[in-house]
Amino acid sequence: MAGKTMTNVYLYTRFERLWHWCQALMVIFLMITGFEVHGLYTLMGFDTAVELHNFIGLFWLGSFAFFAFWLIITGEWKQYIPTTRKLFDVARYYAWGIFHGQDHPVQKTPGAKHNPLQRLAYLGISAMLLPVQMVTGLLYYLYNSLGGVSLAPIAFIHTLAAFLLVNFLIIHLYMTTTGHSLFSHIKGMITGWEEIYDTTKIQEWETKATRKT
């Protein structure tokens, strides 16, 4: 947009990016294999799908523990504290403002990478949907050794949550195109640097801190 200056911010550290793309890969593979196990299509064969699904699922579960540890230690968990402030502004922006050339009501900063709507969505995903999926997945994997556990309710929740995750993935992918250019958000998640409108004064230390030229 003419007349507005752009600035580069280092939003996502190498670890975060690596984690994001690893998790993306794992989740997508879990979806592909999981829905084959669910009987929606035949791709790699039921037994291969089951084995892959179990392997990736366990790997994800293990690595997620380290991500959670990282969140706590670094204090990055604070990025997920939900807030209603500006929540409705953001909602209104996506429902109306975006079609009318308005500015996004919230700018990203390294201290606040997620807008209030994202915070709520990601909190829901990370704190609810993913743990539910992991717990039911683990129960699904272990139910035979647990004794007295019925598979039906586990499968009910696990499958339902899987559909909701596909729903999330579609919207998530679409939302990446709503940056100042179609791919600016994706570029940010690949390089760590995101180009944003310089509407918010970013403190010198934030931009300079990692700038080693």
Partner: protein
């Protein structure tokens, strides 16, 4: 480009990130290591079930200290079966006494119901030749292990004779030639005596042929009854039966049907063949009648999903993909068409598989080869409809049906041959009936069903109203022989599939791949399609409004 330069982190922070990544992956790997390690081990090691089974049959050589041809008692000119048995009993003093206690002799076994005896000679019926009529039906008794029906002595050689010898005919000939001094006849008589002697001295533990003489041909012919037992198992190859195969383990029946005092493990009526499923690891004196006995409850390679199945799925379900793989087996028998005549004479017609599809004396048959079993929950027991039980002729009567449910810890999903029948029943008393078939007064001679029922029910002392009709019935046989090589066992997809699952009829469990919750899939579809529609509309909106930006 400044921003790409910016990507270069300091050595310190790059190292830190690297360390984190490494720690993450190593730790995650360690978490799943037990699984991964066992998968790797399993690839090299033999599955537990194979290892144990090989140990169980390692010393398979039977040895004996008796050469029966050197026994003086057996070097005599026998003129009757009972004489032979007396000779046997002169050493094996208690054998006959033991044997007469067993169901092989009595053809009866107490039922759970008051005053009811199961067994061919009891109140049990089937949908083949229906009843043994308390052994009055002489056609059936040819399989009884005595020399002369139920009178007299046990015929030890039926099970222990290596040679199949026509004793009955030979003794009849000897009786006819007795006292004749024609030198030619004397020579013939000598030959006959020698033949008998050789057969009597040729003693063995029961071989497949001994048991098969009756059990391969139950129901009146090869492969009629069981579906997994027919004459093809006398000399099977590995593809047909890995255990009994001559080029495989070459088991005799008694390798699994272990025997105590002539009681042979494996009888199935209202009580299971084995009270408990135990491997020889848990109890080295356990009978070997279950697969678990030698293969254990975790027979597959470690950490494979198949081992999780063994608490609910019988080994046979996957390892016997089809039965009657060499010889055809009878699948249905319709008594209601019996009695038709051609030119006033009974006749028979042969079908595609070289087996009779119609016999005047028996009615219509269907036969099949390579039959896919039907699957039911099965705890080792059957529910039987006997001659004294009430039936509902409006429905298909399950004359014999497996018992078990998903919640029964002893029950497994097990394969069965279901033989369909249409057989006579008493219209007034609403009970199955037991027509007498063989003999001069039996249906096979008189072709009068009503008279045959009157005579047959009399043998069992069961009243008959005088009015009969035909009712559809089923009879279930557990499929347990004809275990195929491992590579021929079922793929997951044979059962874990939406359509045409082999286990489509199994209820009470959730099976991934087969089952779904309609509501979950509906909500899921709405969520996915809704999201797609939403983002498409939103995207189109942005496209057409050019994001509200002016050109």
């Amino acid at each position: 480009m400044e921003k790409y330069l910016n990507l270069k982190l300091t050595g310190q922070s790059a190292a830190a990130t690297f360390l984190w990544t490494a720690v993450l992956f190593v730790a995650a790997l360690m978490l799943i290591r037990p699984c991964a390690a066992s998968v790797a081990n399993a690839a090299q090691q033999e599955a537990l079930g194979i290892k144990l089974a090989k140990q169980a049959v390692r010393e398979d050589k039977h040895w004996t200290t008796v050469d029966h041809s050197k026994i003086e008692m057996l070097n005599q000119d026998f003129t009757s079966g009972d004489q032979i048995t007396q000779a046997c009993l002169s050493c094996h003093t208690d054998a006959s006494m033991q044997f007469k206690e067993t169901i092989h002799w009595t053809w009866k076994v107490p039922s759970e119901k008051q005053g009811i005896m199961n067994g061919k000679a009891g109140h049990a019926v089937n949908n083949f030749c229906i009843s043994g009529n308390a052994m009055e039906d002489k056609g059936c008794v040819s399989c009884h292990a005595g020399w002369n029906d139920i009178q007299g002595e046990v015929n030890c050689l039926a099970c222990h004779g290596k040679e199949k010898f026509p004793f009955k005919e030979t003794f009849a000939d000897l009786a006819a030639f007795e006292g004749d001094d024609d030198p030619d006849l004397v020579e013939i008589v000598d030959d006959l005596h020698n033949g008998i002697q050789q057969a009597v001295q040729n003693i063995t533990l029961p071989q497949r042929n001994n048991c098969g003489e009756c059990h391969f041909k139950g129901g009146g012919g090869d492969g009629v009854k069981h579906g997994d037992l027919d004459t093809s198992l006398a000399r099977p190859n590995r593809m047909l039966d890995v255990h009994m195969a001559e080029d495989g383990a070459d088991f005799a029946c008694t390798r699994c049907h272990t025997t105590v005092k002539h009681h042979i493990a494996g009888r199935l009526y209202t009580r299971p063949a084995a009270a408990e499923r135990k491997s020889l690891i848990e109890d080295d004196m356990a009978s070997k009648i279950t697969c678990e006995s030698c293969h254990s409850a975790t027979p597959h390679k470690a950490s494979t999903k198949m081992n999780d199945h063994t608490d609910k799925v019988a080994c046979q379900s996957c390892h016997i993909p089809e039965f009657a793989r060499v010889n055809p087996t009878k699948m249905s028998w319709d008594w209601s068409t019996a009695g038709k005549m051609k030119d006033g004479k009974p006749y028979e017609e042969k079908g595609d598989l070289g087996k009779p599809v119609y016999k005047s004396i028996k009615g219509d048959f269907t036969w099949a080869k390579n039959v896919m079993p039907q699957y039911y929950w099965y705890n080792g027991s059957f529910d039987n409809i006997g001659i004294k039980d009430k039936i509902d002729p409006q429905q298909i009567v399950e004359v014999s049906h497996p018992l078990g449910s998903p919640n029964d810890p002893d029950a497994r999903i097990h394969p069965f041959k279901i033989h369909s029948g249409k057989q006579p029943y008493d219209k007034i008393n609403q009970q199955l009936v037991a027509p007498l078939l063989s003999g001069p007064k039996g249906f096979w001679t008189t072709f009068d069903m009503n008279d045959a029922i009157i005579r047959g029910n009399q043998t069992l002392d069961v009243p008959y109203s005088g009015e009969f009709d035909y009712v559809e019935t089923t009879y279930a046989f557990p499929i347990t022989h004809m275990v195929a090589p491992a590579e021929k066992s079922l793929d997951c997809i044979q059962c874990h599939t939406r359509d045409n699952s082999r286990l489509a009829g199994i209820t009470g469990i959730y099976m991934p791949g087969r089952d779904k919750f309609a509501i979950v899939d509906t909500i899921g579809l709405i969520a996915v399609l809704g999201a797609l529609a939403g983002v498409t509309l939103h995207g189109l909106g942005r496209f057409f409004t050019r994001n509200g930006r002016e050109e």
